[in-house]
Symmetry: C3
Amino acid sequence: MTGLITMDDLTNEEILSILDDAERLLPVARGELYLPLLQGRIMGNLFFEPSTRTRMSFETAMKRLGGDVINLGDVKTSSVVKGETLFDTIQMVDGYTDIIAMRHPRQGAAQYAQDAARVPILNGGDGAGNHPTQTMLDLFTIRQAHGRLDGLKVVLAGDLRYGRTVHSLSHALTRFGCELIFASPTLLQMPAEIVSDLREHGATVTETEDLYGSIDDADVVYMTRIQKERFADEDEYARCAGAYKLHAKHLGDVKGNMIIMHPLPRVDEIHPSVDETRHARYFEQAFNGVVARMALLCRLLGVTVPADVNAQGGAL
Amino acid sequence: MTGLITMDDLTNEEILSILDDAERLLPVARGELYLPLLQGRIMGNLFFEPSTRTRMSFETAMKRLGGDVINLGDVKTSSVVKGETLFDTIQMVDGYTDIIAMRHPRQGAAQYAQDAARVPILNGGDGAGNHPTQTMLDLFTIRQAHGRLDGLKVVLAGDLRYGRTVHSLSHALTRFGCELIFASPTLLQMPAEIVSDLREHGATVTETEDLYGSIDDADVVYMTRIQKERFADEDEYARCAGAYKLHAKHLGDVKGNMIIMHPLPRVDEIHPSVDETRHARYFEQAFNGVVARMALLCRLLGVTVPADVNAQGGAL
Amino acid sequence: MTGLITMDDLTNEEILSILDDAERLLPVARGELYLPLLQGRIMGNLFFEPSTRTRMSFETAMKRLGGDVINLGDVKTSSVVKGETLFDTIQMVDGYTDIIAMRHPRQGAAQYAQDAARVPILNGGDGAGNHPTQTMLDLFTIRQAHGRLDGLKVVLAGDLRYGRTVHSLSHALTRFGCELIFASPTLLQMPAEIVSDLREHGATVTETEDLYGSIDDADVVYMTRIQKERFADEDEYARCAGAYKLHAKHLGDVKGNMIIMHPLPRVDEIHPSVDETRHARYFEQAFNGVVARMALLCRLLGVTVPADVNAQGGAL
């Protein structure tokens, strides 16, 4: 069986159909309905790099559906430190599980693992590479708010250079015909080759350093963390980052149904004053990680999500 | 839904009713009966400070009832180190779970978490603050041995200054009309404000440095660990701590049904010779942590414990 | 109830009957069949020393059978560092679980734990002592390939001095009348007292430094890792270890049904070129750890494995 390594593994139709499944699974993810579609299945959680949010939401997704999880655990005390190759580790876990969720610091590691494994690999982030389950939950969140994916105006802001999340999402949004506005300090601009690739695929892309001037027209503002380590000195960092901190006071003229997203954890790029506004959607977005991953787990394991979950699930 | 942050969240009637539920759940906790009352529910284990016993017994409680658990994992590699606030971490886990068990080094953290969460928080210890699930299992153990909570004579011994366990328990025992004897080195005395507060609430309190002279009349002797770090020098420690080490030889004149308790882990404040006596109750007390937490999980999740568990559970 | 501390706890008849159970459970281990024989049971995983493969396969074994697992977690942050004795830790976990899988760096620790516990202990390796579940999965793998255990010619190669795996296996193979060839550098020879003990029990043992000259007659070649730390200097290591690295080119004249095993993780004692040959059996061997442990868990918990699992299990 084949897994999900990059968004290119899915057609637009498949994406939409998985988002439909995710929508149906909402009451199960919320713990309102018991629907053990994955009872008897085991997922291996192989996080070669820690990621609390991604690991926990994969684990919740599996358990909400009645499945179970085994964790590789701390890489620092695992067989990896005894010099075991990724190939051998995958061979082992392949024999213990039905599906593997994996994060790895090295780009390409997920594809390498898929080539070695019989079970499907769910890429939970491979270095500067891909993070397709994040993209799926982002798309779910956007569609949930706006009822559609096509023709939206999306501002992506902050660190566009190193953030695989915004790279993946930009490509996906382009496939659905969104207009993209990239707001970032010059140092952290979206890489030129990605911008030109997006344009080749028909995207309308605007690049700017002015975040606050970009949001009034937007349907979605997607914030990311600007890391101090990217800058040569503290002053430069403070000057740049300061212009990418969203506060409730910036939201006076935005569209009523504009949503603000963030892959989290945030540091101070979104001020707590924003939390109370109708625009804040980042905590729901984190929750949507569960439902998006539930739908993906079912799809990759060949389990059909029933059209009417209420008819098949038990009340809780 | 609201959680359990401090014992003040429960009336005496509620305490007794939860202890009744715990009593009923004993065969389930012992693995003699399968009763999946919490099937489909997920508990988040957020231990910002390690605690093997508390974490494992919360986890066992949930799993014995057919529920499942997701762990935050090692705080040193979690999103917390990326600068995430407790508020944001709780928002995340809130979306993944139905209830959260939490331990945190900072006093007040549990209440803060409850204010941020939709799901109930079970405070598993917040710094020098509260540890109500420990108090519940202590009360369960005492009632199990003596058939009642009121009118007992309870010696609390060792480190009474820093031990949140003995603070919480003293308040609870006062509510049930117990007589309290505080036996400790001067340096580790029960804080004066707690003593006067207990007296205001009607407690009879005696303070002494003489443990061995206090136990012959007692119904319960509750030992705690005296930590070397509390003392300025090694000699002072050795002199003080030596007078708070219980040995079987000290038990010649005690009441036949007196029980010795300890929150564990112990170091050498209870000699192994005591383990064989009829008075030792600390290992059962640790086991009672499971049953007390099972009852609390059911209560906070709104699940009724059946009056006759044998009629509803399956044999194992 | 009593556990499994050493292979001496099992008669030959019991070993064969457990291997029969393991055989029956293969479709459950593969995730093709759902058979929750251990629903409602909890295993404690007490790994006082990390072991990814052993821990994960114990966990998978329990979960494939519908049971659940609680982990002691990182020993460095557990109650063990607060000075808790093994006796007290076992008393605690004994109250939380139905069975305990345990690995400990100290020889004899598993027996000590069994003496302290009411629940059965499954020894997952105690220092230089025993590792019986590894031996069971090794025997299962050999019998699966050759249809029998008796009268086989088995080469054990590499570090025979420190490897508890090969010590345990040698004893077990002797009980079934196998012929043993020990191929190792002089420095890492099988201890003389073990060799003489095996001979007293009727084994035919040959000792040699020549691995490549030993394999053409063999039914099984069991490789182990040679650790650099065992040698005084790097040159000595390189010279010795180089003669215990199996490559596909060495397999030209071996028997068609000869199998190559390794407890894993390997470093470079088996070249990847071997993976593609019909002889490689180490990844299946790792998988067999699940099915062997499933059979042992059932046996120790007093749960009968049905003769026809297909009739009782649910399709997946």
